[in-house]
């Protein structure tokens, strides 16, 4: 197993004290961001500090250049290079997230308040795209569970639904005559998946706030699921009783399941999922590597799915 420690240590037990203070630095970084906003290169790239997490994998990182230039973010175009080119138009500050549905404390919360629920951590996670490529990314974020506990979901809440910003003025993909997806982008998790300690809300990568093309200012990262589950630029988090509608599942239900767990044994109908190309590894002569069950996180998450037929519930 490539994970240094199994999943049962709470991040809060191992987070050094200075990290609890890191939010101030994040705020300082955000202030610095405001000053340098005129420089497009600096957009979304204010320094962030975070504690190393025991949940990180010990694998070679994909370069920052590749992580920030090879993106699927269809709101900004369907080519992998489009988001880096076009996402600068998204206004990420101020940013408000609406938390509603079956929840004790529904609220509209600003990004800085939202991040109060816990200290920032750096998590080095594998990211496996449903298209058959993968990366290793040093995310910075907070466990989603910390936020969920703070807003006190009701007993009837069984799923968490997420929504991306719906801003045609700032997102060229939403103005397209032939929409690629039924906007806004929507995703969802079962409540126990959302509460799993590996699930995070990321606000940064490589020691800085998220670049827009990676889903600034706040996005979901669920490392054992295909990348499209990691909804970007989140503006709404709803607690619901029924399995929510999700964007890719709605677009092609036979190809993209609600669960979308990384699974080398269940092929996408149009391509195999048995292997993957690790971005930045070998260049033109990249060698495929075997895809791991639950993207290598089986030890931590397989229990969530015991008794389920993962061929049917792909």
């Amino acid at each position: 197993m490539l994970i240094r420690h199994p999943a049962d240590i709470l991040p809060s037990e191992i987070t050094p004290r200075e990290v609890y203070l890191s939010r101030r630095q994040w705020m300082a970084g955000a202030a610095g961001l405001a000053l340098t906003a005129a420089l497009p290169k600096e957009l979304g790239a204010a320094p962030l500090s975070a504690a190393k997490s025991s949940f990180s994998v010990d694998e070679k990182l994909t370069s920052r250049e590749d992580v920030t230039s090879y993106n699927n973010y269809y709101e900004f175009g369907v080519d992998k290079a489009d988001p880096a080119k076009n996402a600068g138009t998204l206004k990420t500050s101020p940013w408000t997230v609406t938390i509603d549905g079956l929840v004790g404390k529904p609220q509209q919360v600003g990004l800085d308040d939202l991040l109060k629920s816990s200290a920032l951590e750096e998590r080095v996670y594998r990211m496996r795209c449903v298209e058959g490529w993968s990366m290793v990314i040093p995310w910075i974020g907070i466990p989603l569970a910390d936020l969920i506990k703070r807003v006190e979901p009701l007993g009837s809440a069984k799923y968490v639904a997420f929504e991306t910003a719906n801003r045609p003025d700032e997102m060229p993909g939403l103005r397209s005559v032939f929409p690629v997806l039924d906007w806004p982008y929507r995703e969802g998790l079962r409540l126990d998946e959302a509460l799993h300690p590996l699930t995070i809300l990321a606000v940064g990568l490589y020691g800085e706030t998220l670049p827009n093309q990676n889903g600034a200012p706040i996005r979901l990262v669920v490392p054992w699921k295909y990348g499209f589950k990691g909804i970007k630029s989140i503006t709404r988090i709803s607690f619901v009783e029924k399995q929510p509608v999700t964007a890719w599942n709605k677009q092609a239900p036979n190809e993209y399941g609600f669960y979308a767990n990384v699974n080398p044994n269940v092929d996408h109908p149009r391509w195999s999922q048995a292997t993957e190309r690790r971005i930045g590894e070998g260049g033109l002569f990249v060698k495929r590597r075997p895809t791991l069950m639950f993207n290598g996180y089986a030890e931590q998450v397989a229990g969530l799915y015991s008794g389920m037929d993962l061929r049917k519930l792909y």
Binding site: D66, Y70, V180, A252, R277, G283
Partner: protein
């Protein structure tokens, strides 16, 4: 065949400066050479293999479309590029071959089990492979000697398979992408126009003799 074409071309006085055919090949191979060079010098972005594979496939499709555009250009606009058609068709074939080799060697690492499973199980790969198989006899019979040996009519009949290849390429492109992005649909629309033009024209021709006695 070129005789009739040049007569039509000269009728409206639209003549293009003639360039040696070898130049078409040389210019035609620039994208392949450039992409491969960019690939080995790490200038193709995060996923260079995929970029090369897709570019080669797209250029094959573009040359196939160019080949199909020769006849309408001549008939509708009196632009006669017939003497370059063989070069364009062969470029389409060579690019399709490079695309296939890239898929087999660089993408799949000559994992024959995976390639076989892909061909059998993935419709877009089945169609892509079938399209290549269709182009193969067309490339092999592209010489003057082959035309003479087969006879003009039989040769022309065989080479109508290029219409099937164009449909295959369009479908292959649509099926490989997620959702319905515009680019493959635009290419498919161009193919539809080029083939639709021929269909309408041949239906019109067939209808003509019946009209005359009435």
């Amino acid at each position: 065949m070129p005789v009739r074409a040049s007569v039509q071309g000269s009728k409206k006085g639209f003549s293009l400066p003639q360039v040696p055919k070898i130049l078409v090949y040389i210019v035609g191979f620039i994208p392949a050479v450039w992409m491969f060079y960019a690939g080995i010098t790490d200038q193709l972005g995060a996923d260079p293999m995929r970029a090369l594979e897709q570019a080669l496939g797209l250029w094959a499709f573009r040359f196939l479309i160019a080949t199909l555009a020769i006849t309408p250009l001549r008939q509708l606009f009196s632009v006669n590029l017939l003497r370059y058609r063989r070069a364009l068709g062969l470029l389409a074939f060579y690019y399709a071959l490079l695309h296939l080799v890239t898929y087999m060697v660089l993408d799949q690492g000559l994992d024959w089990a995976a390639i076989g499973a892909d061909i059998v199980k993935r419709p877009y790969i089945t169609i892509g492979m079938a399209t290549f198989v269709i182009l193969l006899p067309l490339a092999l019979t592209s010489t003057n000697a082959a035309i003479r040996r087969m006879g003009g009519q039989a040769w022309a009949r065989l080479h109508r398979l290029v219409y099937v290849a164009a449909l295959g390429a369009a479908l292959h492109f649509i099926l490989v992408v997620k959702s319905w992005p515009p680019e493959p649909l635009i290419y498919a629309a161009i193919v539809a126009v080029l083939l639709g033009y021929r269909l309408v024209r041949s239906l019109g021709r067939r209808a003509e003799p019946r009209r005359r006695p009435a």
